[in-house]
């Protein structure tokens, strides 16, 4: 398999080196840029498979750069943020970022995010059955099995679950989920989301209080994790 190319845009030399070493030792090709301008130039001349973008750059606001990139760049963009500011993260996700990491992050987390983001751009394998641990979701027949037993889901619960499984590993914001499942009029009705997430967890999780599939991203949204 071809090595995926990753562009790191971060002004901190230590973080850049850390990312370069981590990614290269995990079989990625890494290029890095120190400023927004340089990042934009490299991205335009050799479009990478994925961009890791720090939101706090010296020469330009990361949100601006993200918007500029998104005018033509369609591959995943991963945001690095230094503070756990949910509004900032949600804004970046709305502006087209695929996922985010808050510094300090663990290497395992970084690699999982990158793999999941790259998977989403890989051509569809046309397999409507998603197999994860004790859970099987068949998008063609709209059936969900847990430990080979059929799980009865309501229409809304199924809609939510299928949305999650189709974007496995990616963080989905509250607004996005509410808009997709209930419609644009409901984007502020987060209480519906809480209720249905709790119900869905009761049906598919082994221990609903220690969810392994539907992970809460505090203040941002939820993430569906199926693969190790």
């Amino acid at each position: 398999m071809n090595k995926a190319a990753i562009l790191v845009i971060d002004d901190e030399v230590q973080i850049r080196r850390l990312l370069e070493i981590t990614l290269e030792s995990n079989h990625f090709n890494v290029e890095s840029a120190e400023t927004a301008k340089e990042g934009l130039r490299i991205a335009a001349s050799h479009p990478p498979d994925l961009i890791i973008l720090d939101l706090g750059l010296p020469d330009e606001n990361g949100h601006n750069l993200l918007k500029k990139l998104r005018e033509w760049y369609t591959n995943p963009v991963l945001i690095l943020s230094v503070q756990n500011d949910e509004d900032d993260i949600v804004k970046a996700l709305d502006n087209g970022a695929n996922d985010y990491l808050v510094k300090p992050f663990r290497t395992g987390e970084l690699l999982a995010r990158i793999r999941s983001a790259l998977r989403s751009t890989a051509p569809e394998d046309n397999n409507p059955v998603i197999d994860c641990k004790d859970l099987q979701i068949d998008l063609a027949t709209r059936t969900v099995k847990k430990n080979n037993e059929l799980v009865k889901l309501t229409a809304t619960e199924y809609k939510l679950l299928s949305l999650f499984t189709r974007q496995e590993g990616k963080v989905l914001t509250h607004q996005y989920l509410l808009r997709e499942v209930w419609g644009p009029g409901y984007i502020n009705q987060s209480q519906y989301l809480r209720v249905f997430i709790a119900q869905l967890r009761k049906k598919i999780e082994k221990d609903p209080n220690r969810p392994a599939y539907i992970i809460t991203e505090s203040g941002v949204g939820y993430r569906f994790i199926a693969k190790e």
């Binding site: 809480r194 209080n209 809460t216 203040g219």
Partner: protein, 385 residues
Amino acid sequence: MYSIPLGMLRQLSKISKANQFLAGIGLILVVSGICYFFSDYLGYKVVAFILLLTVSLIAIVFDILPVLAASLLSALAWNFFFIPPKFTFHIGSAEDGFLFLMYFIIAFINAVLTNRIRKIEQQVVEKEEKARTVKLYNTLLNSLSHELKTPIATIVGATDNLITAQSNLSDDNRKELAENISVAALRLNQQVENLLSMSRLESGFIQPKKDWYDISELIYAVINRLEQQLKNHKTIIHIEENLPLYRLDYGLMEQVLYNLLYNASIYTPDYADISISAKNHAERIYNLDTATREHSEIKNEYSYLSLVIEDRGPGFPPGELEKVFDKFYRLDHSSTGGTGLGLSIVKGFVESHNGTVLLENVPHGSRFTIMIPAETSYINNLKNE
């Protein structure tokens, strides 16, 4: 000692300039009016003393200009209404003229001096506050230099070993050093988070971002985050059945529970239990039209989220229960690390929700009770579809 009257005075002196003028002038007019009413019994010289007293009282509270205006008015009022012949500014005898002049000067000196004393008093208070801040900073620097430098020392030492003494290290040792670095870095991160929370609180910019949340999800999220610290304890979780959703700030409340449970895990001996319970508290206010509750109309209903955390730690000295929430408070004999910021952050975040936190000693431990007034939604108990 004088903190209460001083506080009241400070409240009064916050009144705007225009209102101070009006209040001063109004008071002089009212006092003159009363004196005039009793002028049959009071000699005009006694009235002069009463008016001087009034000016002094005004000077204690108000700024210099309104006070001067009030003293000028009092002199004129005294002259016009009380010095014979009445209802003219004309002064009959030379003695009265001299008295009026003296009154004028005394009223002004009185106003200026009282005002100056007040300013000096203010400076003393400011100085005391400054001294307290300096003391606070010293405590901060002491606990910070310990809390931050310990993990930094670990990291520096471990990396030095890894860089220079590589050949002499066994694989196990190398792994242990790397793990030490990781633990130290996470501890450092936690301390920085605490300091950031504290400075957010200090700046007064904490605005809870409220949204609907499932309390059981909140509690389990914190318990799961503290899995490592709680693994040797028995954690008892009791969440009231059919607890509604609440509108609150998830991040802030998560930090509140994290700090309390983290403390509980440090101070509770292994294998003892730590309990956390969540309940809804409804307070109903009735329109008391009829005698029985069933027939009266509910006027208003307030809901409180009540969170109780009990540990089996040593408890707190009874005299210090209040001080526990102060910044940088640490029990004298406590050996475990901590900057003493945890509980003051708890208090600050709870208060940003207009809530209260109460600490009591209970047999074999201590109990924190948090009450948060919040909107509720029972939508989670409805049957869907």
